[in-house]
């Protein structure tokens, strides 16, 4: 199992460690309920070093990025970030990623479990004059998330983030070394993601905890990360999106720019848009008791199967169960009543509009 430069810190903090995408990662410290609350009310720090980072440079870089992703990277100015998908010819999602427009090209941030697959895919589709480099082993990623993340980041780097908008980044220095400071996250809260050389990792982590003490900071594990993203209705690759689902079915059409000249999957997605999708990723809350879990069947009120749960949990913030799943489009409208088969029982649920929180 791979370690991150912070693995020993997690152990010392009493984290429960698990194997996640081949990395030994903290799943929880104080507990999922408490950690989720910390991020919703104060600020939490996450070690996300398992995520992959690729650099694309050279005159062909923009053409390559625009060919392998669904969003339009040509609109990005230096310092801007966009969410996008890598898709196959059949519209299936290879990964959902972030694209950063840097001074010399692009930085792609990819899911840990997909990093090797993504790298091979991009390499296979490189346009001439493009250099692809895997920086994953050189960079540490710490996320600082929560309503008190801004004052903490400002104090650590001695900068103002007042002008740093969501989905933009800037470069700051720490101990004379460069840190990429990005106003992004996967929690539904204000927050930042910090990318920097591994050598700074332990010092910066400790400083986040020390300087964050007055803001109620705590380290946050992958367990709370999952509840936080689900409450914010953000899809998780492998659960809610996969090579078997298209971005249009997943409700990600605003990240698919069909007016772009060409990209892998465009023909299929164009056709799917014209014909309309058969199923949609819907969010629902439970009306009856029970917690929906991945794989549980979804049924209409007549008891006919209409889909399956892709993510479900007991929301720590709302204190009731929430879920997402693909349903036949006829049942995807807000307020539609459906049923979840939870073990031997059928429990009523209701489709909602928008996010669960905020």
């Amino acid at each position: 199992m791979k370690k991150t430069p912070l693995t020993e810190k997690h152990r010392a903090l009493g984290a429960k460690m698990v194997d996640y995408a081949g990395f030994e990662m903290p799943v929880q410290y104080a507990g999922v309920l408490e950690e989720t609350k910390t991020v919703r009310t104060n600020v939490g720090i996450f070690d996300l070093t398992h995520m992959g980072e690729f650099e694309l440079t050279g005159p062909g870089a923009l053409e390559t990025v625009n060919y392998v992703t669904t969003n339009d990277a040509s609109v990005l100015k230096e310092g801007e970030i966009q969410y996008t998908c890598l898709t196959k010819e059949d519209g299936g999602i290879i990964d959902d990623i972030l694209v950063y427009r840097t001074a010399d090209g692009f930085l792609l941030v990819v899911n840990a479990a997909n990093a090797a697959k993504d790298y091979a895919w991009i390499e296979q589709h490189l346009k001439s004059g493009t250099e692809l480099k895997d920086l994953s082993d050189e960079l540490t990623l710490i996320a600082v998330q929560g309503p008190k993340s801004a004052p903490l980041v400002e104090e650590i780097f001695n900068v103002s983030v007042a002008d740093l908008k969501g989905y933009t980044f800037t470069e700051v220095t720490y101990e004379g070394e460069k840190v990429l400071l990005s106003r992004t996250g996967y929690t539904g809260e204000d927050g930042f993601e910090l990318y920097f050389a591994n050598a700074l990792a332990e010092k910066l982590w400790d400083e986040c905890l020390q300087k964050g003490e007055k803001h109620g900071v705590a380290p946050i594990g992958l367990g709370a990360r999952d509840s936080l993203r689900l409450e914010a209705r953000m899809p998780l690759y492998g659960n809610d999106i996969s090579e078997e689902t298209s971005p249009l079915e997943a409700g990600l059409s605003r990240f698919v720019k069909l007016d772009k000249e060409s990209f892998i999957g465009k023909d299929f997605l164009q056709k799917q848009k014209e014909e309309g999708v058969q199923r949609r990723l819907a969010a629902f809350v439970m009306v009856d008791k029970g917690i929906p879990r991945q794989g549980y069947p979804l049924l209409n009120m007549d008891g006919e199967e209409i889909g399956a749960v892709t993510s479900g949990t007991h929301s720590p913030t709302l204190d009731y169960p929430i879920g997402m799943g693909y349903v036949d489009v006829a049942y995807a409208k807000p307020d539609t009543e459906i049923q979840v088969q939870i073990r031997k029982k059928l429990a009523k649920a209701k489709i909602i509009k928008g996010r669960f929180i905020g």
Partner: protein, 125 residues
């Protein structure tokens, strides 16, 4: 009437009182599961087979079945858990009990561990 406390390898405890057994999960089990947020209880009068999953403990992240070490009829369920599932974490051996089962026939304790044996077993886990 004397009470006997036993443990299973699945980290449940069984308190035997005559032909009725009270069942819960051990402190080790609750700590492994993390914050319990929902307990799916059976109904009084349900019949359960030995080895059957009769209740489910849901943490934020996952669901775990509770298996019956005996065959019998559900005589009582801990209704407190419906509103306060956290009792399983806070008081696993006492206020966080889950069900009572009236055992079919005679209670067989031979395959179960006593407290000392269970503590030794935990060291091997």
């Amino acid at each position: 009437m004397s009470e006997q406390l036993r443990f299973t390898k699945e980290h449940e405890w069984i308190l035997v009182k005559g032909d009725v057994v009270r069942i819960g999960i051990s402190d080790y089990a609750q700590s492994e599961l993390g914050d319990i947020v929902f307990v799916d209880l059976p109904s009084v009068g349900d019949h359960v087979e030995e080895g059957e999953g009769f209740a489910a403990l849901e943490s934020v992240k996952a669901v775990s079945d509770v298996y019956s070490p005996v065959a019998g009829e559900i005589a009582a369920v801990n209704e407190e858990l419906e509103d306060s599932p956290e009792l399983v974490n806070e008081s696993p051996m006492d206020a966080g009990w889950i069900v009572e089962i009236k055992v079919d026939g005679v209670v067989q304790l031979d395959d179960l561990m006593n407290k000392e044996e269970y503590e030794a077993f935990l060291k091997e886990v």
